[in-house]
């Protein structure tokens, strides 16, 4: 047993699996979270978790296929060895979750059931109804509670991570954090720190993410010298319920279980969807992608929805299409889908007021996942092609002793994540990196020996920031500034990107920075459970992340996965298909990882090669039918 301690920041799937495994390895863990860990954003994941399985294996699938699909789905931007290791480990992770009591949906014989998911033609997604993330999070939460009762893990819930503490040698030796109730700021020593703080959807205003997903954990490490990898890669999920406060996800499993996307063939058809006969519907994904149909990967489905709406073919001519789960469209009985998808059907029913098994849902794409995040290292095993086990380099950021795991890091998903791979990557990372972290802390002098002044200075720095914010009396409310940032990021830096709009966004970000520094007005100056303070701090972080995302997007002169660049002069050429307007993928110049450093208060870009040592990049189009089909939509085709 070692007496050294590790801090884990964030209590979603990545943070909990890291904590559990470290504790099991005999390392004491201090676990920090903004909310009780059981309320972390992993709870929102719906569809499932991918792994090769016995049935798919007998149909020709394998761990290699899972790896290959993931790399292909990510448009070859992911480093390949970590992906291979993850795919190989996936089946044993499902078994582990099963032993922990996750109520996976079952086949009549009592086996764990499987469903189809985007980017694969094999059923390789395990699920628990349509609340898989919730069930996985709860299972890990309970395991961690067991370790907590045994005294191996100490939780700090309602504590906010403010900054890593870095010694003269450049090693992370602890954190500064704030108790969100008493507002006490204090330092914590740690022999290593793991950031498992999730994605940054809030920089886009409305997204499918929880409102705690500001990316501030990542941004604070970035400001302290850690670099970001590929921040410009932002997943826009094709199917969400548009909303004024958030966009609520309608899982890809809806399509995996038979749901179909369509629009009326007749422009601005005002009939009720159930009254529009089959032959007057354009199932556009099935028309364009006869092989994958409705389960093409998310970046592709999202662009097709965008395009069909841009052509004026959206519902009522607006920005919405139908996601149809009715028996009429799917041929699947009401009760079957109710049982398999109940969790998401309820969400639609509660927030829209319509039963989606009776009437097609109206959906539109929404920001959903950050493929980019903190850059992390990996140690390739030349013999297996995967990763070297228990190597301290795996998932370490540019700062020694500072690790990142889960959506907070940039590994695995490249330019586009495949559905049901995120629960896997979060849990895989946590379980996989713990032995390497243990090895790291054993190789280093104990931080207990470090001088106290290092920690005191870090606390004073944060106290000074707090004092300045509490005293700010300008007219710019941080919540309003966030809304402005979110609108610009959503309008200009999501599905379609053009340099003119990206530059405009950077100008706005510069002005937001200036207003934040000079005219911020904090609506609350109290020293008890002051939520405005935390939000104002996160607002600054979101502005900086917005800058990193936008600058990286501006620089990348190609289209790849979720990053789709149209030259300014072609943006409004609605007469051309999107593919013909956009830049093509350019492996010669852009098959490289973006690295963003925070230098002199600015995002500064650099690049490094991608490890494509296992599969050579090839064209990616999922068998799209290029010539317009005979049943292509025409205005007013139907009576």
């Amino acid at each position: 047993m070692t007496h050294k301690r590790v801090i884990v920041v964030g209590g979603g799937l990545a943070g909990l699996s890291t904590s559990m495994k470290l504790s099991e390895e005999g390392v004491a863990v201090d676990l920090f979270s903004l909310v009780p860990v059981k309320r972390s954003h992993s709870v929102c994941a719906q569809g499932g978790i991918n792994a090769c399985n016995d049935v798919a294996r007998q149909q020709g699938y394998s761990e290699w296929e899972h790896f290959e699909e993931t790399v292909f789905g990510g448009d070859f931007l992911a480093n390949q060895p970590p992906v291979l290791e993850m795919a190989r480990t996936a089946p044993s992770i499902i078994d582990l979750l099963d032993r922990m009591g996750v109520p996976f949906s079952r086949t009549p014989e009592g086996n764990r059931d499987l469903r189809l998911f985007g980017g694969s033609l094999y059923k390789r997604t395990f699920y628990a109804g349509a609340t898989t993330g919730q069930q996985l999070l709860y299972a890990l939460d309970e395991q961690v509670r067991h370790h907590e009762v045994q005294g191996h893990i100490t939780k700090y819930e309602f504590w906010e991570f403010l900054a890593p503490i870095i010694d003269d040698g450049g090693r992370c030796v602890g954190i500064v954090a704030q108790d969100l109730r008493t507002m006490q700021i204090r330092s914590f020593r740690a022999d290593a720190v793991v950031m498992a703080t999730g994605g940054n959807g809030l920089i886009f205003g409305q997204s499918t993410m929880s409102i705690i997903c500001t990316g501030s954990g990542t941004a604070r490490c970035y400001q302290a010298g850690a670099k970001l990898g590929n921040p410009e890669f932002v997943q826009v999920h094709p199917t969400a319920i548009p909303g004024e406060d958030k966009c609520r996800l309608m899982s890809e499993s809806a399509r995996g279980e038979g749901g179909r996307l369509w629009v009326p063939r007749k422009r601005q058809d005002s009939r009720h969807p159930n009254d529009i006969p089959e032959e007057e519907r354009d199932y556009f994904l099935e028309r364009l992608y006869p092989k994958y149909k409705n389960i093409v990967p998310r970046d592709i489905a999202t662009r097709e929805i965008f395009y069909i709406c841009e052509q004026g073919m959206g519902i009522g001519g607006g920005q919405m299409v139908y996601l149809d789960l009715t028996e009429k469209a799917t041929g699947i009985p009401y009760d079957v889908l109710k049982r398999k998808l109940g969790g998401i059907l309820e969400i639609y029913e509660k927030f829209v007021g319509v039963d989606p098994l009776i009437e097609p849902m109206k959906i539109y794409p929404a920001v959903h996942y950050s493929m980019g995040g903190l850059w992390v290292d990996f140690a390739k095993d030349e013999k297996t092609g995967g990763l070297r086990k228990a190597d301290p380099r795996n998932h370490m950021t540019h700062i020694s002793g500072l690790y990142a795991a889960g959506e907070a890091d940039y590994q695995f998903h490249g330019a586009n994540r495949l559905g049901a791979n995120s629960l896997l990557s979060c849990i895989f990372t946590g379980l996989f990196i713990a032995p390497g972290i243990k090895k790291f802390i054993e190789s280093q002098p104990a931080v207990a020996e470090k001088t106290q002044s290092l920690y005191d200075n870090a606390v004073q720095n944060q106290q000074a920031i707090m004092t300045r914010l509490l005293g700010s009396r300008g007219t710019d409310n941080p919540y309003v500034m966030h809304r402005e940032l979110g609108k610009a990021m959503s309008d200009n830096v999501t599905i379609i990107r053009s340099n003119g709009k990206l530059k405009q966004t950077l100008d706005l970000i510069e002005s937001l920075k200036d207003r934040y520094r000079n005219n911020l007005g904090l609506p609350d100056s109290g020293l008890w459970n002051n939520q405005s303070l935390g939000f104002a701090r996160a607002c600054w972080d979101m502005i900086l992340l917005g800058e990193a995302v936008t600058k990286a997007a501006l620089a990348r002169e190609e289209s790849r996965g979720s990053h789709f660049k149209i030259p300014d002069e072609f943006v409004d050429r609605h007469d051309l298909p999107l593919d013909q307007r956009a830049l093509q993928r350019d492996d010669e110049h852009w098959l490289k990882t973006t690295l963003v450093s925070f230098v002199d208060g600015q995002a500064t870009l650099g690049y490094e090669p991608v490890d494509v040592s296992l599969v050579a990049p090839r064209a990616r189009n999922y068998g799209k039918v290029t010539a317009p089909a005979t049943n292509a939509p025409t205005a007013g085709a139907a009576a």
Binding site: D95, A366, D524
Partner: protein
């Protein structure tokens, strides 16, 4: 992507505020913009953007907990128009008649200590999860093969119970659950039932029954059945109470004869 606003439509809010745990609560009125899709969390966010009372006074925005905004994280439980609900799934159009001049009242839950405004301390519920050993005991996270085979019928019986968000609504509605007693409430009873149903979770069944038959356990339930009416996830809480009650009888007989 934003729901179309009805121009100039607003709604009045009456919020019970409390500056700190020991401070005296007071009501404060607000009037905020309201759209077709507005829910109570979006109204609270509007106040944060412009924290001015109906009377024009600048105030600190009310503190509240919220996270997922889609009724799956359990954060935003509060008492709205006199009933405990999740603020995110409480759509204004559903609880508030169109053009009504009446304010919507928003109060913190009463069964937990107030931290500030609408934020309460629910740590008691999480501590109780420890007490009843709400986990499946596993040897380690090493690869030891799959878990026990479970029939679809068993899974379908367990799944609804597994969706408890620890939101506290059932406890707020329960007349037996008070700030000064130690009744565990419907939530914990139902979670214990859930773990007792699992083939490996059963290993700790007796230890859970000991807790549930002790002080603050199942016998404190007064059978008011309020819990099941307010559960946002429609968990069959009263059924769980019945099952655990019968299990308690069986367990005490077994214990009597094994003495």
């Amino acid at each position: 992507m934003i729901a179309p606003a009805e121009k100039g439509k607003t709604v009045k809010l009456n919020i019970l505020r409390q500056d700190s745990p020991d401070a005296k609560p007071y009501w404060q009125n607000f009037e905020v913009p309201c759209n077709a899709g507005s829910n109570v969390t979006s109204l609270l966010r509007s106040i944060s953007e412009s924290p001015v009372t109906a009377g024009g006074a600048k105030v600190a925005p009310p503190a509240y907990e919220a996270s997922c905004l889609e009724e799956v994280c359990g954060s935003c439980t509060m008492v709205i128009n006199g009933r405990v609900r999740q603020a995110c799934s409480t759509l204004v159009r559903k609880i508030h008649p169109h053009d009504s001049e009446e304010p919507i009242t928003i109060e913190p839950m009463t069964k937990f200590p107030v931290i500030r405004d609408l934020v309460v301390d629910r740590s008691r519920t999480f501590e109780n999860l420890k007490r009843i050993k709400a986990w499946i005991p596993i040897d380690s996270s090493y690869n030891l093969g799959p878990g026990p085979r479970i029939t679809p019928e068993e899974q379908q019986a367990m799944y609804p119970l597994s969706r408890c968000m620890t939101c506290g609504a059932c406890l707020e509605a329960c007349p037996q659950f008070t700030r000064d007693n130690n009744f565990v409430g419907a939530q914990i009873i139902s979670i214990a039932r859930y773990y007792n149903m699992h083939p490996n979770g059963k290993i700790l069944k007796d230890e859970r029954m000991e807790v549930l038959m002790g002080e603050g356990g199942i016998t404190d339930c007064g059978n008011a059945q309020n819990c099941v009416k307010v559960c946002p996830k429609e968990i069959p809480l009263t059924e769980s109470i019945g099952v655990i009650g019968r299990a308690a009888t069986v367990y005490s007989i077994k214990k009597f004869f094994s003495k």
